[in-house]
Amino acid sequence: VRVLIAEDDLVLRHSLRIHLERWSYDVVECADGGQAWTALQDERTPSLAIFDWNMPGRDGPSLCRDLRQVPSLAAMYVILITSNQDQKDVVCGLESGADDYIKKPFDWNELRARLRIGSRIVSLQHALAARVSDLQQALQDVKRLGGLLPICAYCKRIRDDGDYWKQIEQYLSEYSEAQFSHGICPQCLETHLQQLTR
């Protein structure tokens, strides 16, 4: 799992990187909010982020607010870290779009547990998005099969959306999970057997 760390305190940033790498995370390290915003535009978008509240350039809450406006970043799990101890700061941080909040100095095991929660939520979101995509495709196929199908009155071919006439079994195979095993019905067997024996 890829994690972006945005922390201007060099000592804490190094410590975070070492701990996260030991916990098998792939770490992207940024020294301020501006660097973090640039890193977030990278194609390999991190799934999780740890933002310090107070940083030069963009601070943690403004990074949260901005990334929630970008569809490709909106699902990212963000943990804010800060030495602000006031309860209203917790509320303000979470309302900016952070998913979790941890006060400095924090316990490393607590951070590890919170990151695990974030990873689990992110993987559930990915699984849910994949399921929704599958269901949308299935619904599209059902609608297509449930609609009006243009079929040739003689050869029984079906015209598809690309204006090609297809064998009925080919059409159904493409738009459903149906599979065909070819055989000959008794009526056809009789007709064709008579033709063959003539």
């Binding site: 400095k104 100095p105 490393w108």
Partner: protein, 109 residues
């Protein structure tokens, strides 16, 4: 501090080395902000120093002094700050000496 790192002396040494290179810059930044007389710059510089110190010291000592400077910067009450900056400098020098001693002792053992 080593306890907080799960007994990892190697990481503690790395963090101390980073801190010893970093804290003079943080103090320079704080002194410059005090000379500028801009309370918001003082607040930010003191907050950065407080955060860095908190990696090693929990409450009291230099962390408390940096926090006091941050509070005064937030309130715009600048008169006491130069005195507190000098106090912070002394406290950090003492902390740094302790760290160097730790580095040397852990190298010998």
């Amino acid at each position: 501090m080593v306890d907080r790192l799960g007994g990892d002396e190697e990481l503690a040494r790395q963090l101390i080395t980073l801190f010893l290179g970093e804290y003079p810059k943080l103090m320079d930044n704080l002194r410059q902000s005090v000379n500028s007389g801009q309370s918001d710059a003082i607040r930010r510089a003191a907050h950065a120093a407080k955060g860095c110190i908190a990696n090693f010291v929990e409450g009291g000592g230099p962390q408390a002094t940096a926090f006091r400077i941050e509070q005064l910067g937030t309130a715009g009450a600048l008169s006491e700050i130069p005195c507190l900056v000098s106090q912070l400098e002394r406290e950090l020098d003492a902390l740094a000496r302790g760290m160097v001693a730790f580095q040397e002792s852990s190298c010998e053992s």
